[in-house]
Protein backbone atom coordinates (compact mmCIF):
# COMPACT_ATOMS: atom_id res chain seq x y z
CA UNK A 1 0.00 0.00 0.00
CA UNK A 2 0.89 3.61 -0.29
CA UNK A 3 3.28 4.90 2.31
CA UNK A 4 3.58 8.56 3.20
CA UNK A 5 7.07 8.11 4.62
CA UNK A 6 8.44 6.86 1.34
CA UNK A 7 7.05 9.97 -0.27
CA UNK A 8 8.91 12.23 2.07
CA UNK A 9 12.06 10.34 1.34
CA UNK A 10 11.45 10.87 -2.33
CA UNK A 11 11.03 14.55 -1.73
CA UNK A 12 14.31 14.75 0.09
CA UNK A 13 16.21 13.06 -2.67
CA UNK A 14 17.14 16.04 -4.77
CA UNK A 15 18.96 14.24 -7.50
CA UNK A 16 20.28 15.67 -10.70
CA UNK A 17 18.14 13.15 -12.52
CA UNK A 18 15.00 14.76 -11.12
CA UNK A 19 16.06 18.12 -12.40
CA UNK A 20 16.72 16.74 -15.85
CA UNK A 21 13.41 14.92 -15.99
CA UNK A 22 11.61 18.00 -14.68
CA UNK A 23 12.93 19.91 -17.66
CA UNK A 24 11.33 17.43 -20.03
CA UNK A 25 8.13 17.43 -18.03
CA UNK A 26 7.76 21.16 -18.12
CA UNK A 27 8.51 21.39 -21.82
CA UNK A 28 5.84 18.89 -22.75
CA UNK A 29 2.63 19.62 -20.92
CA UNK A 30 -0.39 17.92 -22.37
CA UNK A 31 -3.70 19.15 -21.18
CA UNK A 32 -6.95 17.31 -21.12
CA UNK A 33 -9.45 18.52 -23.67
CA UNK A 34 -12.36 18.80 -21.26
CA UNK A 35 -14.30 22.03 -21.02
CA UNK A 36 -16.15 22.02 -17.75
CA UNK A 37 -17.56 25.50 -17.94
CA UNK A 38 -17.65 28.74 -19.84
CA UNK A 39 -13.99 29.51 -19.16
CA UNK A 40 -13.21 27.05 -21.92
CA UNK A 41 -14.16 29.76 -24.37
CA UNK A 42 -10.80 31.47 -24.02
CA UNK A 43 -8.95 28.22 -24.63
CA UNK A 44 -9.47 28.04 -28.41
CA UNK A 45 -7.62 31.35 -28.96
CA UNK A 46 -4.79 30.11 -26.76
CA UNK A 47 -4.58 26.74 -28.47
CA UNK A 48 -4.87 28.03 -32.03
CA UNK A 49 -2.93 30.45 -34.17
CA UNK A 50 -3.39 33.71 -32.25
CA UNK A 51 -1.49 32.76 -29.11
CA UNK A 52 -0.32 29.27 -30.11
CA UNK A 53 0.54 27.50 -26.88
CA UNK A 54 2.16 24.70 -28.85
CA UNK A 55 5.23 26.94 -28.89
CA UNK A 56 5.78 25.78 -25.32
CA UNK A 57 4.95 22.19 -26.10
CA UNK A 58 1.49 22.47 -24.60
CA UNK A 59 -1.20 20.71 -26.53
CA UNK A 60 -4.68 19.29 -26.09
CA UNK A 61 -5.05 15.55 -25.55
CA UNK A 62 -8.05 13.40 -26.00
CA UNK A 63 -8.14 11.21 -22.94
CA UNK A 64 -7.18 11.50 -19.27
CA UNK A 65 -4.66 8.69 -19.61
CA UNK A 66 -2.50 10.79 -21.91
CA UNK A 67 -2.86 14.11 -20.14
CA UNK A 68 -0.64 15.91 -17.63
CA UNK A 69 -2.77 18.91 -16.79
CA UNK A 70 -6.43 18.98 -15.94
CA UNK A 71 -7.98 22.35 -16.62
CA UNK A 72 -11.05 23.19 -14.60
CA UNK A 73 -12.38 25.93 -16.79
CA UNK A 74 -14.83 27.78 -14.64
CA UNK A 75 -17.69 26.70 -12.44
CA UNK A 76 -18.40 23.04 -11.95
CA UNK A 77 -21.83 21.76 -11.20
CA UNK A 78 -22.32 18.73 -8.98
CA UNK A 79 -22.63 16.49 -11.99
CA UNK A 80 -19.46 17.86 -13.56
CA UNK A 81 -17.64 17.53 -10.26
CA UNK A 82 -18.27 13.82 -10.30
CA UNK A 83 -16.76 13.56 -13.76
CA UNK A 84 -13.85 15.80 -12.83
CA UNK A 85 -12.93 13.57 -9.91
CA UNK A 86 -13.26 10.46 -11.98
CA UNK A 87 -11.10 12.00 -14.66
CA UNK A 88 -8.53 13.21 -12.18
CA UNK A 89 -8.15 9.81 -10.63
CA UNK A 90 -7.67 8.23 -14.05
CA UNK A 91 -4.76 10.45 -14.91
CA UNK A 92 -1.32 8.94 -14.35
CA UNK A 93 1.15 10.77 -12.17
CA UNK A 94 2.63 13.33 -12.20
CA UNK A 95 -0.47 15.41 -12.82
CA UNK A 96 -1.39 19.01 -12.24
CA UNK A 97 -4.63 20.89 -11.88
CA UNK A 98 -5.20 24.39 -13.14
CA UNK A 99 -8.31 26.21 -11.94
CA UNK A 100 -9.66 28.94 -14.16
CA UNK A 101 -11.72 31.88 -13.18
CA UNK A 102 -13.32 33.21 -10.05
CA UNK A 103 -15.88 30.43 -9.88
CA UNK A 104 -13.32 27.90 -8.78
CA UNK A 105 -12.10 30.02 -5.88
CA UNK A 106 -15.19 31.11 -4.06
CA UNK A 107 -18.18 30.25 -6.18
CA UNK A 108 -17.92 33.27 -8.40
CA UNK A 109 -21.14 34.33 -10.02
CA UNK A 110 -22.86 31.20 -8.87
CA UNK A 111 -22.01 31.35 -5.20
CA UNK A 112 -25.64 30.90 -4.17
CA UNK A 113 -26.62 28.44 -6.87
CA UNK A 114 -28.04 25.12 -5.74
CA UNK A 115 -26.03 23.11 -8.24
CA UNK A 116 -22.56 24.67 -8.33
CA UNK A 117 -19.79 23.89 -5.90
CA UNK A 118 -18.09 26.83 -4.24
CA UNK A 119 -14.47 25.99 -3.63
CA UNK A 120 -12.75 23.55 -5.89
CA UNK A 121 -9.88 23.12 -3.42
CA UNK A 122 -12.16 21.17 -1.12
CA UNK A 123 -12.62 18.36 -3.60
CA UNK A 124 -9.38 18.04 -5.54
CA UNK A 125 -5.95 19.60 -5.00
CA UNK A 126 -5.25 22.57 -7.24
CA UNK A 127 -1.81 23.75 -8.28
CA UNK A 128 -2.55 27.11 -9.84
CA UNK A 129 -5.57 29.32 -9.68
CA UNK A 130 -6.22 32.20 -12.06
CA UNK A 131 -8.77 34.85 -11.20
CA UNK A 132 -10.82 36.49 -13.90
CA UNK A 133 -14.17 35.94 -15.43
CA UNK A 134 -12.94 34.68 -17.73
CA UNK A 135 -9.15 35.05 -17.70
CA UNK A 136 -7.58 36.59 -20.78
CA UNK A 137 -5.46 34.40 -23.06
CA UNK A 138 -2.39 36.23 -21.81
CA UNK A 139 -3.32 35.35 -18.24
CA UNK A 140 -3.72 31.72 -19.23
CA UNK A 141 -0.30 31.72 -20.86
CA UNK A 142 1.17 33.43 -17.81
CA UNK A 143 -0.23 30.76 -15.55
CA UNK A 144 1.12 28.04 -17.83
CA UNK A 145 4.57 29.61 -17.70
CA UNK A 146 4.28 29.85 -13.96
CA UNK A 147 3.34 26.19 -13.76
CA UNK A 148 6.40 25.38 -15.84
CA UNK A 149 8.60 27.24 -13.38
CA UNK A 150 6.98 25.41 -10.50
CA UNK A 151 7.56 22.06 -12.15
CA UNK A 152 11.19 22.86 -12.78
CA UNK A 153 11.61 23.87 -9.16
CA UNK A 154 9.80 20.73 -8.03
CA UNK A 155 7.10 22.70 -6.23
CA UNK A 156 4.08 21.51 -8.12
CA UNK A 157 3.21 18.51 -5.98
CA UNK A 158 -0.47 18.94 -5.24
CA UNK A 159 -1.17 15.42 -6.50
CA UNK A 160 0.77 14.09 -3.53
CA UNK A 161 -1.41 16.10 -1.19
CA UNK A 162 -4.36 14.29 -2.62
CA UNK A 163 -2.94 10.98 -1.52
CA UNK A 164 -1.75 12.22 1.83
CA UNK A 165 -5.09 13.76 2.73
CA UNK A 166 -7.32 11.41 0.84
CA UNK A 167 -9.69 11.01 3.79
CA UNK A 168 -10.38 14.74 3.86
CA UNK A 169 -11.07 14.94 0.14
CA UNK A 170 -13.09 11.78 0.13
CA UNK A 171 -15.33 13.05 2.90
CA UNK A 172 -16.02 16.24 0.99
CA UNK A 173 -16.71 14.34 -2.19
CA UNK A 174 -19.02 11.91 -0.47
CA UNK A 175 -21.06 14.76 0.89
CA UNK A 176 -22.03 15.59 -2.67
CA UNK A 177 -22.31 12.21 -4.29
CA UNK A 178 -23.45 9.71 -1.71
CA UNK A 179 -27.13 8.96 -1.36
CA UNK A 180 -28.32 11.65 0.93
CA UNK A 181 -31.55 12.81 2.40
CA UNK A 182 -33.03 16.21 1.73
CA UNK A 183 -30.71 19.09 2.59
CA UNK A 184 -33.40 21.57 3.53
CA UNK A 185 -36.36 20.98 5.78
CA UNK A 186 -38.71 22.47 3.23
CA UNK A 187 -38.37 19.27 1.19
CA UNK A 188 -41.17 17.82 3.29
CA UNK A 189 -43.57 19.99 1.30
CA UNK A 190 -42.92 17.94 -1.80
CA UNK A 191 -45.99 16.70 -3.61
CA UNK A 192 -45.87 13.08 -4.67
CA UNK A 193 -48.11 12.19 -7.53
CA UNK A 194 -49.92 8.87 -7.55
CA UNK A 195 -51.08 7.36 -10.75
CA UNK A 196 -54.57 6.48 -9.57
CA UNK A 197 -55.13 9.99 -8.30
CA UNK A 198 -53.95 11.37 -11.61
CA UNK A 199 -56.46 9.26 -13.45
CA UNK A 200 -59.36 10.89 -11.64
CA UNK A 201 -58.07 14.36 -12.29
Amino acid sequence: MFNINSLEQQDNQDKLWDKVINYFRKRSLWMLHYCTGCGAMELPPVMTSRWDMERFGIGPMATPRQADILLITGYSSVRTMKRIIRTYEQMPEPKWVLAFGSCTVNGGMYWDSYNVINNLGEYIPVDITIAGCMPRPEAILDSMLKLMDMIQAGEAKAFRKYKENYAYYKANQDRLFMERGPVLESAALRYVHEETEGGEA
Binding site: G37, A40, P45, S49, M109, Y110
Partner: protein
Protein backbone atom coordinates in the same frame (compact mmCIF):
# COMPACT_ATOMS: atom_id res chain seq x y z
CA UNK B 1 -24.87 0.62 -49.87
CA UNK B 2 -26.61 0.75 -46.57
CA UNK B 3 -24.71 -0.96 -43.82
CA UNK B 4 -27.85 -1.21 -41.73
CA UNK B 5 -29.25 -3.70 -44.14
CA UNK B 6 -26.72 -6.35 -43.19
CA UNK B 7 -28.59 -9.18 -41.63
CA UNK B 8 -25.82 -9.81 -39.12
CA UNK B 9 -26.37 -6.42 -37.58
CA UNK B 10 -30.06 -7.07 -37.43
CA UNK B 11 -29.53 -10.24 -35.51
CA UNK B 12 -27.04 -8.51 -33.25
CA UNK B 13 -29.49 -5.75 -32.44
CA UNK B 14 -31.92 -8.25 -31.04
CA UNK B 15 -29.29 -9.94 -28.96
CA UNK B 16 -28.84 -8.18 -25.64
CA UNK B 17 -25.27 -9.33 -25.17
CA UNK B 18 -23.88 -7.71 -28.27
CA UNK B 19 -25.00 -4.19 -27.46
CA UNK B 20 -22.95 -1.95 -25.24
CA UNK B 21 -23.19 1.56 -23.82
CA UNK B 22 -20.75 4.11 -25.14
CA UNK B 23 -20.42 7.44 -23.38
CA UNK B 24 -19.96 10.03 -26.06
CA UNK B 25 -19.03 12.98 -23.89
CA UNK B 26 -18.84 14.96 -21.71
CA UNK B 27 -15.11 14.29 -21.72
CA UNK B 28 -14.72 13.69 -25.44
CA UNK B 29 -12.87 15.83 -27.97
CA UNK B 30 -15.74 15.66 -30.44
CA UNK B 31 -18.29 16.99 -28.01
CA UNK B 32 -19.32 20.62 -28.24
CA UNK B 33 -19.27 21.82 -24.68
CA UNK B 34 -19.87 19.91 -21.51
CA UNK B 35 -22.63 17.61 -22.64
CA UNK B 36 -22.94 14.01 -23.55
CA UNK B 37 -24.90 11.29 -25.24
CA UNK B 38 -25.10 7.78 -23.95
CA UNK B 39 -25.11 5.68 -27.07
CA UNK B 40 -26.41 2.15 -27.10
CA UNK B 41 -24.21 0.55 -29.73
CA UNK B 42 -23.98 -2.55 -31.86
CA UNK B 43 -20.47 -2.67 -33.29
CA UNK B 44 -20.02 0.85 -34.61
CA UNK B 45 -23.69 1.47 -35.23
CA UNK B 46 -25.91 3.39 -32.90
CA UNK B 47 -28.98 1.61 -31.68
CA UNK B 48 -30.56 4.18 -29.42
CA UNK B 49 -29.47 7.33 -27.67
CA UNK B 50 -30.04 8.99 -24.32
CA UNK B 51 -28.98 12.61 -23.83
CA UNK B 52 -26.79 13.02 -20.76
CA UNK B 53 -27.43 16.66 -19.95
CA UNK B 54 -27.11 18.71 -16.80
CA UNK B 55 -23.37 19.09 -16.49
CA UNK B 56 -23.76 22.80 -17.13
CA UNK B 57 -26.85 23.36 -15.02
CA UNK B 58 -26.37 26.36 -12.76
CA UNK B 59 -29.96 27.28 -12.01
CA UNK B 60 -29.87 30.57 -13.89
CA UNK B 61 -33.56 31.13 -13.73
CA UNK B 62 -33.51 30.78 -9.97
CA UNK B 63 -30.49 33.04 -9.55
CA UNK B 64 -32.13 35.75 -11.63
CA UNK B 65 -34.98 35.88 -9.16
CA UNK B 66 -32.42 36.60 -6.42
CA UNK B 67 -30.73 39.56 -8.10
CA UNK B 68 -31.83 43.03 -9.16
CA UNK B 69 -32.89 44.01 -12.66
CA UNK B 70 -29.55 45.47 -13.65
CA UNK B 71 -27.48 42.98 -11.69
CA UNK B 72 -28.95 40.20 -13.82
CA UNK B 73 -27.11 41.57 -16.82
CA UNK B 74 -23.99 39.86 -15.58
CA UNK B 75 -25.79 36.52 -15.58
CA UNK B 76 -27.57 36.58 -18.92
CA UNK B 77 -24.59 36.58 -21.30
CA UNK B 78 -23.29 33.46 -19.60
CA UNK B 79 -26.20 31.44 -20.92
CA UNK B 80 -24.57 31.18 -24.32
CA UNK B 81 -20.82 31.56 -24.25
CA UNK B 82 -20.29 31.59 -27.97
CA UNK B 83 -22.86 34.19 -28.76
CA UNK B 84 -23.51 36.25 -25.62
CA UNK B 85 -24.96 39.49 -26.93
CA UNK B 86 -28.36 38.22 -28.11
CA UNK B 87 -29.03 37.27 -24.50
CA UNK B 88 -28.26 40.73 -23.22
CA UNK B 89 -30.35 42.36 -25.91
CA UNK B 90 -33.30 40.00 -25.49
CA UNK B 91 -33.29 40.55 -21.74
CA UNK B 92 -33.07 44.32 -22.10
CA UNK B 93 -35.81 44.32 -24.74
CA UNK B 94 -38.12 42.36 -22.49
CA UNK B 95 -37.53 44.77 -19.63
CA UNK B 96 -38.04 47.74 -21.91
CA UNK B 97 -41.25 46.24 -23.25
CA UNK B 98 -42.65 45.91 -19.74
CA UNK B 99 -41.56 49.44 -18.90
CA UNK B 100 -42.92 50.71 -22.19
CA UNK B 101 -39.87 52.72 -23.17
CA UNK B 102 -38.20 53.23 -26.52
CA UNK B 103 -34.40 53.48 -26.63
CA UNK B 104 -32.51 56.19 -28.56
CA UNK B 105 -31.70 55.62 -32.21
CA UNK B 106 -27.95 55.56 -31.76
CA UNK B 107 -28.27 52.93 -29.07
CA UNK B 108 -30.34 50.82 -31.45
CA UNK B 109 -27.59 50.94 -34.03
CA UNK B 110 -24.91 50.17 -31.46
CA UNK B 111 -26.95 47.20 -30.31
CA UNK B 112 -27.27 46.00 -33.87
CA UNK B 113 -23.55 46.30 -34.40
CA UNK B 114 -22.74 44.31 -31.27
CA UNK B 115 -25.32 41.69 -32.17
CA UNK B 116 -23.90 41.22 -35.64
CA UNK B 117 -20.31 41.19 -34.38
CA UNK B 118 -21.30 38.54 -31.89
CA UNK B 119 -22.93 36.58 -34.69
CA UNK B 120 -19.70 36.73 -36.64
CA UNK B 121 -17.72 35.33 -33.73
CA UNK B 122 -20.19 32.49 -33.39
CA UNK B 123 -20.11 31.72 -37.10
CA UNK B 124 -16.34 31.69 -37.11
CA UNK B 125 -16.40 29.26 -34.23
CA UNK B 126 -18.93 27.17 -36.12
CA UNK B 127 -16.63 27.09 -39.17
CA UNK B 128 -13.82 26.04 -36.86
CA UNK B 129 -16.13 23.45 -35.36
CA UNK B 130 -16.86 21.96 -38.76
CA UNK B 131 -13.16 21.67 -39.32
CA UNK B 132 -12.47 20.18 -35.91
CA UNK B 133 -15.19 17.57 -36.07
CA UNK B 134 -14.10 16.44 -39.51
CA UNK B 135 -10.46 16.23 -38.43
CA UNK B 136 -9.51 19.25 -40.51
CA UNK B 137 -7.66 21.55 -38.15
CA UNK B 138 -6.46 24.17 -40.63
CA UNK B 139 -9.77 26.06 -40.84
CA UNK B 140 -10.10 25.71 -37.07
CA UNK B 141 -6.83 27.52 -36.52
CA UNK B 142 -7.59 30.14 -39.11
CA UNK B 143 -11.09 30.90 -37.99
CA UNK B 144 -10.25 31.10 -34.31
CA UNK B 145 -7.47 33.54 -35.11
CA UNK B 146 -9.83 35.59 -37.28
CA UNK B 147 -12.41 35.53 -34.54
CA UNK B 148 -9.90 37.22 -32.31
CA UNK B 149 -9.94 40.24 -34.59
CA UNK B 150 -13.57 40.77 -33.63
CA UNK B 151 -12.86 39.97 -30.00
CA UNK B 152 -10.34 42.82 -30.07
CA UNK B 153 -13.02 45.12 -31.39
CA UNK B 154 -15.32 44.00 -28.60
CA UNK B 155 -12.60 44.61 -26.09
CA UNK B 156 -12.15 48.11 -27.39
CA UNK B 157 -15.84 48.90 -27.42
CA UNK B 158 -16.96 47.28 -24.20
CA UNK B 159 -13.91 46.41 -22.12
CA UNK B 160 -14.56 42.68 -22.08
CA UNK B 161 -13.39 40.06 -24.53
CA UNK B 162 -16.03 37.39 -24.17
CA UNK B 163 -18.66 38.77 -21.84
CA UNK B 164 -19.41 42.32 -22.79
CA UNK B 165 -22.24 43.40 -20.48
CA UNK B 166 -22.69 46.31 -22.85
CA UNK B 167 -26.45 46.53 -23.24
CA UNK B 168 -28.50 47.74 -20.29
CA UNK B 169 -32.19 48.55 -20.05
CA UNK B 170 -32.55 51.90 -21.78
CA UNK B 171 -29.70 51.63 -24.24
CA UNK B 172 -26.03 50.78 -24.10
CA UNK B 173 -23.49 51.56 -21.43
CA UNK B 174 -21.14 53.81 -23.30
CA UNK B 175 -20.58 55.33 -26.69
CA UNK B 176 -18.08 53.92 -29.12
CA UNK B 177 -14.51 55.18 -28.64
CA UNK B 178 -12.86 57.40 -31.19
CA UNK B 179 -11.64 55.63 -34.28
CA UNK B 180 -13.61 52.53 -33.47
CA UNK B 181 -15.83 52.48 -36.54
CA UNK B 182 -12.95 52.97 -38.97
CA UNK B 183 -11.07 50.11 -37.40
CA UNK B 184 -14.22 47.99 -37.44
CA UNK B 185 -14.61 48.55 -41.18
CA UNK B 186 -10.99 47.56 -41.68
CA UNK B 187 -11.59 44.35 -39.77
CA UNK B 188 -14.66 43.66 -41.88
CA UNK B 189 -12.57 44.06 -45.04
CA UNK B 190 -9.94 41.73 -43.63
CA UNK B 191 -12.56 39.13 -42.77
CA UNK B 192 -14.17 39.36 -46.17
CA UNK B 193 -10.80 38.91 -47.81
CA UNK B 194 -10.39 35.67 -45.88
CA UNK B 195 -13.63 34.19 -47.20
CA UNK B 196 -12.13 32.69 -50.39
CA UNK B 197 -9.64 30.83 -48.23
CA UNK B 198 -12.40 29.26 -46.18
CA UNK B 199 -14.29 28.47 -49.35
CA UNK B 200 -11.41 26.67 -50.91
CA UNK B 201 -10.31 24.72 -47.89
CA UNK B 202 -13.63 23.85 -46.36
CA UNK B 203 -16.75 24.58 -48.35
CA UNK B 204 -15.39 23.40 -51.71
CA UNK B 205 -13.41 20.53 -50.30
CA UNK B 206 -14.66 17.32 -51.93
CA UNK B 207 -14.15 15.27 -48.79
CA UNK B 208 -16.18 17.72 -46.73
CA UNK B 209 -18.96 17.30 -49.27
CA UNK B 210 -18.65 13.57 -49.05
CA UNK B 211 -18.82 13.61 -45.25
CA UNK B 212 -21.68 16.07 -44.83
CA UNK B 213 -23.93 15.37 -47.78
CA UNK B 214 -27.20 13.82 -46.69
CA UNK B 215 -26.18 13.79 -43.04
CA UNK B 216 -28.95 14.63 -40.60
CA UNK B 217 -31.69 15.50 -43.06
CA UNK B 218 -34.50 17.69 -41.71
CA UNK B 219 -37.51 18.24 -43.93
CA UNK B 220 -39.20 21.60 -44.34
CA UNK B 221 -42.32 20.59 -42.43
CA UNK B 222 -40.45 18.87 -39.60
CA UNK B 223 -38.20 21.84 -39.08
CA UNK B 224 -41.18 24.14 -38.56
CA UNK B 225 -43.07 21.76 -36.33
CA UNK B 226 -40.30 20.69 -33.99
CA UNK B 227 -39.18 24.15 -33.04
CA UNK B 228 -35.88 24.39 -34.90
CA UNK B 229 -34.91 27.97 -35.55
CA UNK B 230 -32.23 30.13 -37.03
CA UNK B 231 -29.87 28.81 -39.71
CA UNK B 232 -31.16 25.28 -39.21
CA UNK B 233 -34.67 26.34 -40.13
CA UNK B 234 -33.58 28.45 -43.07
CA UNK B 235 -31.38 25.69 -44.44
CA UNK B 236 -34.53 23.56 -44.70
CA UNK B 237 -36.23 26.12 -46.89
CA UNK B 238 -38.25 28.15 -44.40
CA UNK B 239 -37.92 31.90 -44.83
CA UNK B 240 -38.15 32.81 -41.17
CA UNK B 241 -35.89 35.27 -39.45
CA UNK B 242 -36.77 37.16 -36.28
CA UNK B 243 -34.86 40.14 -37.59
CA UNK B 244 -37.41 40.46 -40.42
CA UNK B 245 -40.57 39.10 -38.89
CA UNK B 246 -40.53 40.78 -35.49
CA UNK B 247 -38.04 43.56 -36.18
CA UNK B 248 -36.03 44.90 -33.27
CA UNK B 249 -33.07 47.23 -32.72
CA UNK B 250 -32.04 48.86 -36.01
CA UNK B 251 -32.94 45.98 -38.30
CA UNK B 252 -36.02 47.71 -39.79
CA UNK B 253 -33.71 50.40 -41.18
CA UNK B 254 -31.24 47.99 -42.74
CA UNK B 255 -31.56 46.40 -46.12
CA UNK B 256 -31.19 42.63 -46.25
CA UNK B 257 -32.95 39.56 -47.52
CA UNK B 258 -33.59 36.31 -45.70
CA UNK B 259 -31.27 33.68 -47.09
CA UNK B 260 -32.92 30.31 -47.53
CA UNK B 261 -31.73 27.10 -49.06
CA UNK B 262 -33.47 23.88 -49.91
CA UNK B 263 -31.69 20.74 -48.84
CA UNK B 264 -31.89 20.46 -45.08
CA UNK B 265 -28.78 18.31 -44.62
CA UNK B 266 -25.55 19.08 -42.82
CA UNK B 267 -23.86 20.37 -45.95
CA UNK B 268 -26.67 22.85 -46.57
CA UNK B 269 -26.46 24.02 -42.98
CA UNK B 270 -22.72 24.54 -43.33
CA UNK B 271 -23.24 26.56 -46.49
CA UNK B 272 -26.02 28.50 -44.76
CA UNK B 273 -23.50 29.65 -42.19
CA UNK B 274 -21.11 30.60 -44.97
CA UNK B 275 -23.77 32.67 -46.75
CA UNK B 276 -25.04 34.38 -43.62
CA UNK B 277 -21.50 35.20 -42.65
CA UNK B 278 -21.21 37.32 -45.77
CA UNK B 279 -24.58 38.90 -45.06
CA UNK B 280 -23.52 39.77 -41.54
CA UNK B 281 -20.44 41.61 -42.75
CA UNK B 282 -22.69 43.54 -45.09
CA UNK B 283 -25.10 44.39 -42.25
CA UNK B 284 -22.32 45.73 -40.06
CA UNK B 285 -21.13 47.95 -42.89
CA UNK B 286 -24.63 49.30 -43.42
CA UNK B 287 -25.13 49.96 -39.73
CA UNK B 288 -21.81 51.76 -39.41
CA UNK B 289 -22.69 53.92 -42.41
CA UNK B 290 -26.14 54.83 -41.17
CA UNK B 291 -25.46 55.32 -37.47
CA UNK B 292 -26.89 58.65 -36.29
CA UNK B 293 -25.45 60.97 -33.67
CA UNK B 294 -27.15 61.35 -30.32
CA UNK B 295 -27.60 59.89 -26.90
CA UNK B 296 -26.82 56.25 -26.27
CA UNK B 297 -28.93 55.74 -23.18
CA UNK B 298 -32.25 56.77 -21.73
CA UNK B 299 -32.23 58.24 -18.30
CA UNK B 300 -34.15 55.72 -16.27
CA UNK B 301 -33.11 57.10 -12.91
CA UNK B 302 -30.70 55.34 -10.61
CA UNK B 303 -30.36 51.99 -12.37
CA UNK B 304 -29.06 50.27 -9.28
CA UNK B 305 -32.47 50.57 -7.71
CA UNK B 306 -34.46 50.21 -10.91
CA UNK B 307 -38.04 49.21 -10.42
CA UNK B 308 -40.08 47.75 -13.23
CA UNK B 309 -43.85 47.94 -13.11
CA UNK B 310 -45.84 44.74 -12.97
CA UNK B 311 -46.30 43.06 -16.29
CA UNK B 312 -44.92 40.41 -18.56
CA UNK B 313 -43.39 40.14 -22.00
CA UNK B 314 -41.74 37.63 -24.27
CA UNK B 315 -39.10 39.12 -26.52
CA UNK B 316 -36.96 37.22 -28.96
CA UNK B 317 -33.76 37.84 -30.77
CA UNK B 318 -32.22 36.04 -33.71
CA UNK B 319 -28.92 34.63 -32.52
CA UNK B 320 -26.44 32.64 -34.56
CA UNK B 321 -28.06 29.43 -33.33
CA UNK B 322 -31.66 30.51 -33.63
CA UNK B 323 -34.33 32.17 -31.63
CA UNK B 324 -33.36 33.29 -28.14
CA UNK B 325 -36.46 34.27 -26.17
CA UNK B 326 -36.78 35.85 -22.76
CA UNK B 327 -40.10 35.62 -20.97
CA UNK B 328 -40.03 37.95 -18.00
CA UNK B 329 -42.68 38.39 -15.33
CA UNK B 330 -42.42 41.41 -13.09
CA UNK B 331 -44.37 42.00 -9.89
CA UNK B 332 -43.33 45.63 -9.64
CA UNK B 333 -40.35 45.02 -7.38
CA UNK B 334 -36.63 45.54 -7.64
CA UNK B 335 -36.12 41.96 -8.76
CA UNK B 336 -37.73 39.97 -11.56
CA UNK B 337 -40.46 37.61 -10.44
CA UNK B 338 -39.62 35.06 -13.09
CA UNK B 339 -37.26 34.94 -16.02
CA UNK B 340 -37.63 32.06 -18.40
CA UNK B 341 -35.12 31.52 -21.16
CA UNK B 342 -35.90 29.89 -24.46
CA UNK B 343 -32.67 28.49 -25.82
CA UNK B 344 -32.50 27.56 -29.49
CA UNK B 345 -30.64 24.28 -29.10
CA UNK B 346 -33.09 22.14 -27.20
CA UNK B 347 -35.10 20.72 -30.10
CA UNK B 348 -31.91 19.81 -31.95
CA UNK B 349 -29.97 18.58 -28.96
CA UNK B 350 -32.66 16.34 -27.51
CA UNK B 351 -35.39 15.63 -30.01
CA UNK B 352 -33.40 15.46 -33.22
CA UNK B 353 -30.68 13.49 -31.47
CA UNK B 354 -33.23 10.78 -30.81
CA UNK B 355 -34.45 10.92 -34.40
CA UNK B 356 -31.15 11.23 -36.23
CA UNK B 357 -28.52 9.39 -34.24
CA UNK B 358 -30.01 5.87 -34.40
CA UNK B 359 -29.56 5.95 -38.18
CA UNK B 360 -25.89 6.86 -37.92
CA UNK B 361 -22.53 5.39 -37.10
CA UNK B 362 -20.23 6.76 -34.46
CA UNK B 363 -18.21 8.57 -37.14
CA UNK B 364 -20.85 11.17 -37.77
CA UNK B 365 -22.02 12.13 -34.30
CA UNK B 366 -19.65 15.05 -33.82
CA UNK B 367 -20.15 16.41 -37.33
CA UNK B 368 -23.90 16.11 -36.97
CA UNK B 369 -23.82 17.98 -33.68
CA UNK B 370 -21.74 20.76 -35.16
CA UNK B 371 -23.99 21.09 -38.16
CA UNK B 372 -27.07 21.68 -36.01
CA UNK B 373 -25.04 24.23 -34.00
CA UNK B 374 -25.98 22.69 -30.68
CA UNK B 375 -24.78 24.81 -27.77
CA UNK B 376 -25.36 22.91 -24.52
CA UNK B 377 -25.38 25.82 -22.02
CA UNK B 378 -28.61 27.20 -23.36
CA UNK B 379 -30.69 24.14 -22.59
CA UNK B 380 -28.78 23.19 -19.48
CA UNK B 381 -29.39 26.67 -18.09
Amino acid sequence: MNFNSYSLTKIAKEDKDTTYDLFFGPNHPGMHGNFGYVLDMVGTEINSVRPNAGQLHRGFEKLMEQRGWVQNLTLVPRICVMDPDPNEVAYCMSVERIMGVEIPERAKYLRTITLEMSRLTAYLLAIGGFGGTLGHYTPTHWSTADRDLIMDMFEWLTGGRVYHIYNIPGGVRSDAPEGFFDKLLEVMDALEARLPDYDSILFENPIVHKRLKGLGYVSKEDARKTGLSGPNLRASGNAYDVRKDVPYAAYPYLDFEIITQEGGDALTRALQIRLEYEQTINLIRQAVKKIPEGDVRLNLGLLGNLKVQAGEAYEKVESSKGEFGYYIVSDGGTKPYRVSVRGPSLPAGFLWAQKHLPTMKIDDVAAWMGSLSICPPDFDK
